[in-house]
């Protein structure tokens, strides 16, 4: 089953391994913490911790998000950073306000080459066990058996309203956006999905449902609104996948407006628009 996870209380435990890249991270136990080398302790309320947490959130959504489970983020407890950030956080499934237990994640920013998306590894003690299979199957069947293709627009609307029937598609858009936001993140971004301009269900021949989404992302650091077109697929078995993604710049002649003067954002952002599977 797929869910959307909401990072609430974050407990960073710094564990630095500058020379040997971490193998597969486990949920750190006491011995790991004691063996940690001294590192730069980060203030949990300062932006490096906040941004790393946001990346972890996007990662989790790409792995575990669905139309019925969508993750947000909040509350960093403790943080440390060198090349990678290691975080401990409590997780919550937002749409049900359900506690998911304790998770640990490692977020690695590639400072040397910011075109490389951050690398994230994450495990949770309780696994991402939100039982959404009934709702997912129900939605899937309804859409497959419908006589017309579904579409929607302006989600949420100007006053923050979402029709209940549109909510799963809001979550779906958020989860799909996380694929893009994960890829686009670096130490100088803090990305959220701001708005779904519209979405349209597309014809498919196989078991996956397919949707075209026009989405607005918001980067808190540059304050820019970024227009993305996504082609995504979903099924209860296949999960959420982004098939195509294209950035639509504000205006052709002012593409470079997308750049910010804060450190780190590189010019490659205006060259995004590839069609790779994320």
């Amino acid at each position: 089953a797929h869910t959307v996870l909401y990072i609430t209380g974050l407990q960073f435990v710094l564990k630095l391994t500058p020379h040997t890249p971490a193998a597969s991270p486990s949920v750190p136990g006491q011995e790991d913490i004691q063996a940690a080398m001294p590192v730069e302790e980060l203030d949990p309320s300062h932006y490096p911790a906040t941004r790393a947490a946001k990346v972890a959130e996007h990662f989790i959504n790409t792995r575990y998000g669905s139309p019925f489970a969508w993750f947000g983020s909040s509350g960093v407890k403790k943080a440390g950073l060198e090349v990678r950030a290691k975080l401990h956080f409590t997780l919550k499934e937002m749409t049900r306000n359900q506690d998911m237990g304790l998770c640990s994640a490692e977020v690695l920013f590639h400072r040397a080459d910011e075109r490389k998306p951050p690398q994230v590894q994450c495990t949770c003690s309780g696994a991402f066990q939100v039982n959404t299979s009934a709702e997912e199957e129900d939605l899937y069947q309804r859409l497959r058996n419908a006589t017309s293709l579904l579409s929607g627009s302006d989600i949420p609307n100007s006053v923050g309203h979402i029709d209940p029937e549109m909510a799963p598609f809001w979550h779906l858009g958020g989860v799909a956006s996380s694929f893009i936001m994960l890829r686009e993140s670096n130490e100088s971004t803090l990305l959220n999905m701001a708005h779904i301009d519209n979405f349209t269900q597309m014809e498919t021949k196989d078991a996956q449902l397919m949707f075209q989404y026009d989405i607005l992302l918001h980067d808190m650091v540059s304050q820019e609104i970024l227009k993305w077109k996504l082609l995504l697929s979903w099924s209860p078995d296949g999960g959420v996948k982004v098939l195509e993604a294209e950035w639509d710049p504000k205006c052709r002649s002012c593409e470079r407006a997308h750049l910010t003067v804060t450190t780190g954002i590189a010019a490659e952002q205006e060259m995004k628009g590839d069609n790779n599977n994320v």
Binding site: S45, G72, G75, S158, S222, E224, C251, R256, V261
Partner: protein, 419 residues
């Protein structure tokens, strides 16, 4: 006189079928005891349905009689035959009553409008401006509205002044809606204006504060942008000034202040949402506030309200160096946030702008701090990204209510720490 009309109106309200078209009220000046006696006989005359508003008692007092139109002729002839002088005081009672009703209805509507603006909804500029007027009308001894200048597109910029008198009292400045898309900021300010007006005289802390200090509240600091988010682009942030040589309009009004202007965290590209503008205070909206604050000269606190991220911040943004008053501002900020969280458990972070959110030059609270306004703070209200700028209207009142606790705490500290 009015008393009788009101009585009649109440009477009307109860016996609503009766209409008084053509009825008159005659004023009689009795000149002798004989006149009084004749009038007293008239009083007993039931056929003519005379309604004595002032009874015949003595020659020293007038006698007022409401005469139904159908009997008017008869009564006037009677009075003339007895040489009793009279004048027509009310020519057509129904018209007077209807005018009165209309006036009362207008007042009721006026009253209704300031009390019953839906604080749990977002409103357009026109509605907010009208409501500000009704608030001033309802609390004339506390609230006034000052015009501090025009915007680029010639919208008026208004600030509400809460004052119990005095002259040149130390003052607190609060601005909201400088970034157009942050709707919950202005919505919170509307609720807050109403809260201050209604709590004065009832909340002892607020009352003592207003007895010493003035509060200035600017609900929509970027009217051009705010209108644009209603008419064209909900995600607009900046002003709407034209940038010469560019097809992109607008300057980020919170990168345009003279505090590290043009430094890191602001863009030199007019198309950017964080474009700092051609020079500091290039934006008339910013200049108007700067001029106002400087000529007032007595501001002790400057608080700017934004959304979203759930943060309470103090200077600096343009540099990550601590301000001299870092410890005190941090302490005030933390207690303010504790107060805020006490209501619904909403979590806020506290710190200086540069460390909490990003390095950003040309910000308003950096400017205010650097001109000597020590208690400079910036709020980023709900939420943390799920709805972002599109915060559901159902969260306006909870947001405003919890934020009020933080604002109050800061203001109380300002009140108790004069400098």
């Amino acid at each position: 006189m009015q008393y009788f009309v009101v009585f009649l109106t109440l009477f009307l309200a109860v016996h609503s079928q009766r209409v008084f078209t053509g009825d008159q009220v005659l004023r009689i000046n009795a000149e002798s005891e004989e006149h009084i006696q004749i009038l007293q006989t008239l009083q007993k005359e039931q056929e003519m349905e005379l309604d004595f508003w002032i009874h015949p008692v003595s020659v020293d007092l007038p006698v007022d009689i409401h005469v139904p139109s159908v009997h008017l002729q008869k009564v006037k002839i009677f009075l003339q035959e007895h040489n009793i002088p009279f004048s027509v005081m009310i020519n057509n009672l129904q018209v007077l009553l209807e005018d009165e009703q209309a006036e009362m209805e207008k007042n009721r509507i006026k009253e209704r409008s300031s009390k019953s603006l839906n604080f749990g909804a977002y409103h357009d500029l026109y509605t907010i401006y009208n409501w500000m007027d009704s608030l001033v009308t309802e609390y004339p001894n506390l609230v006034s509205k000052e015009h501090i200048g025009l915007t680029y597109e010639n919208h008026a910029m208004y600030v509400l002044k809460f004052s119990t008198g005095g002259s040149s009292r130390p003052a607190i400045w609060i601005d909201a809606g400088i970034h157009a898309r942050e709707w919950v900021s202005s919505a919170t300010a509307v609720w807050t204006a109403n809260k201050i007006a209604t709590d004065y005289g009832h909340d002892s802390s607020l009352t003592s504060l207003l007895n010493k200090m003035d509060i200035y509240l600017m609900i929509v600091t970027n009217p051009d942008g705010y209108v644009y988010t209603h008419t064209s682009d909900r995600m607009w942030r900046k002003t709407r000034s034209v940038n010469p040589g560019s097809m992109c309009r607008g300057v980020d009004p919170n990168r345009n202040w003279d505090a590290g202007f043009g430094g890191p965290g602001a863009s030199s590209n007019p198309c950017s949402d964080s474009y700092h503008g051609p020079y500091a205070h290039s934006e008339v909206e910013v200049k108007n506030v700067v001029n106002f604050i400087q000529s007032h000269g007595q501001f002790k606190s400057f608080i700017s309200i934004h959304a979203y991220s759930q943060l309470l911040m103090y200077p600096y943004g343009y540099t990550c160096t601590n301000v001299p008053d870092q410890a005190e501002l941090d302490s005030v900020g933390r207690s303010a946030v504790n107060a805020l969280s006490s209501l619904y458990g909403t979590q806020y972070k506290v710190g200086n702008i540069c460390r909490i959110i990003y390095q950003a030059s040309g910000g308003s609270i950096d400017w205010s701090y650097d001109i000597g306004i020590k208690y400079s703070f910036a709020f980023e209200l709900r939420d943390t990204g799920r709805y972002g700028f599109l915060l559901p209207a159902s969260q306006i009142i909870p947001t405003a209510s919890e934020t009020w606790l933080a604002l109050k705490h800061i203001m109380e500290h300002v009140r108790d720490n004069a400098y």
